[in-house]
Amino acid sequence: MKDLMIGNKAVARGIYESGCTVISSYPGTPSTEITEYAADYTDMHCEWAPNEKVALEVAFGASLAGARAACAMKHVGMNVAADPLFTLSYTGVNGGLVICVADDPGMHSSQNEQDSRHYAVSAKVPMLEPADSMECKEFAKAAFELSERFDTPVMLRLCTRIAHAQSLVELGEREVKENIKYEKNGAKFIMMPGNAKKRHPIVEARTAAIAQYAEDCPFNRIEGEGKMGIITSGTCYQYVKEVFGDDVKILKLGIVNPLPEKLIKDFAASVEKLYVVEELDPVIETHCRNLGIKLDGGKDMFPPIGEFSQQFIASAFGKAANECVDASVGEIPMRPPVMCAGCPHRGIFFTLSKYKINVLGDIGCYTLGAQAPLAAIDSTLCMGASISGLHGFNLAGGEDMEKKSVAVIGDSTFLHSGVTGLINIAYNATNSTVIILDNSITGMTGHQQNPATGMNLRGEPASKIDLEALCRAVGIERVRVVDPYNLKECADAIKEELAVSEPSVIISRRPCVLLKTVKAKKPLVIAETDCRGCKACMKLGCPAISMKNGKAKVDATLCVGCGVCKQLCAFDAIKDGEEK
């Protein structure tokens, strides 16, 4: 049976067919759906961990106990999970262990475009890279086999155009795996210096053995004929095939670490011109150059920045552009992503913007608070950096800064890695004010449960963290909750907490307006005779409000009746929608 599925769903299928029983992940675009689709198979335990480090350590534990285990994360999540990764390389596995990591060239939904292949190289673990959904499934299965065969965690690298592109997948049966027997083996699994020193040579020998395996394994293959040769992998392979079909000789690499030597040297010798086409960093290119192979084109033609396409590659090879419609119609305004109409974050950001507060931001939907007209965020770095960053900002800036600076962080991000920063604020004592934007879900990645929502990945009831109690427990005595739909309440809380000489937490609590459990109110209406066109309501940057002919207008298809704009209208021109 063939099915059309995105790469992530195919990876989930491959994990399932491999007989894997434990998957622990933290959501992150473009990796999230791997774990969501895996959860559709009820004979696997699937969970959202608080962060990627926990997820990988859970997978390690499951592997240690003898099961096949997996975790999935986005590229920057790999940074968080890097600590266990590097030593897992030394311990190796018991049951097969696969780490799925999804890169985001072009930064569709990310803060940087780092190349995960560097992790495979530096942690000395093998990495497979599929080029379509069928390969996603097959490579996921192969990754478990390789993991057990070579006693190593195996990384499966995706990128946005593989993870989120649907293509055909032939389904197979699930292999039922008994757990491999667990036997205590301190020399292998207790990584203290005496043991680790003995493990490191094993790691080096393993890498050499896998490089040998890569010479003639089925995942690296040569296609086409011609005097021109291209070495490529993943999505770039598809673009190259789109441009050249079978008219060039292609070495398609499925194992991107370790890279083979003889295969590449022989391929290079078989063509007159040789190019490496790879997105992001020159990993394959550097390997070729280290082997003394002369390239006719690499990063000089295909820069390490952004996403490629068939058009980009055709143009780099000097091919004429396609004929297209004359699309010149003048300037087309940008349409950046925006906070939704009725987003509970808006009230807080409006207030912070109004009082010109310095705001150290974090990763989530609320990063959109940086956009005009709210323009309320000063910095965004990585998960959790708002809180720890604020502490440093206040240490350097002193009392003046403490009185006009806050951190904002979502509920899921706070539990991911914000709470440690809060512990530091309490312990090392700055009068910092932290605002937790608790919308009761992990929003940006498409509504995943987290330890503060009271539900697990499958939506079943679960232990629910009491955020107020948690903040108090780490040493913050001033903890208060506000409703972000109430602008006065927000303003009072922010002013008061900034004024006091002790650290404090404001929890801005209201569920994400896109949650199915949140019922929209009737759209608001503008009483045109009362509207003076003063544009006070426009300062919210609500996509449901616009100005038409000098008067405010509410788009009834977008408005959810949150009423925040009503509080800004001095002329009482915004009215509740009429009940039908």
Partner: protein, 193 residues
């Protein structure tokens, strides 16, 4: 290059249901026996931003994306978005678009004006543009949310794939309680001239 591959762009504003439209289209061309690739958009860009989904089908499809001059069709949920991606259209390609305007944030904040005449300009440039009020037809079917399926209905008429194949795919892609309204929306779009 493989000239037998057909390409369509489904463009709109995040939240308008472009993913469902691409899902149905993908399923239909799959049932016709083609190789298919569909490239979706997830994450931040979905939040009210400009979104584009690529659907490609043919004997063998390599790239999941569509670039300049490759699209046979652009199916657009909003006027401005039709214009934004128009360079992807082949010389003899066709744009099918909803004629509604949704102000992007720079227009809302007053940083620029909504260029209401983009479709006329495209037509003047020689593009084949069919614009209609898909929102009203969706409302007539029972929900404004069905704009995507109304547009798909009009698009279906442009292909040589029979209507019942599309309806079958819609039934497979939406929840049982939404089948009726979506089939109605499809038929309204299919019937428009």
């Amino acid at each position: 290059m493989n000239n037998t591959v057909k390409s369509a762009l489904i463009v709109g504003v995040g939240g308008q249901g472009t993913l469902l439209a691409s899902k149905v289209l993908g399923r239909v061309v799959l049932s016709e026996g083609y190789d298919v690739k569909v490239s979706e958009v997830h994450g931040m860009s979905q939040r009210g931003g400009s979104v584009v989904t690529y659907v490609r089908w043919g004997e063998k499809v390599y790239s999941p994306v569509v670039t300049d001059g490759e699209a046979d069709f652009i199916l657009s949920f909003e006027k401005l978005e039709a214009a934004r991606y128009a360079s992807c259209l082949k010389k003899d390609g066709k744009i099918i678009t909803n004629n509604r305007e949704t102000d992007p944030m720079p227009v809302i904040t007053g940083a620029c004006e909504y260029p209401s005449d983009v479709l006329e300009k495209l037509k003047a440039n020689g593009a084949d543009v069919f614009a209609f009020d898909a929102l009203s037809l969706a409302a007539e079917a029972g929900t404004a949310r069905a704009v995507n399926i109304v547009l798909l209905g009009k698009f279906a008429k442009e292909t040589d794939i029979p209507a019942d194949k599309w309806i079958e795919a819609i039934k497979a892609c939406v929840k049982p309680q939404f089948i009726d309204v979506n089939v109605k929306a499809f038929n309204l779009g299919y019937g428009i001239e």
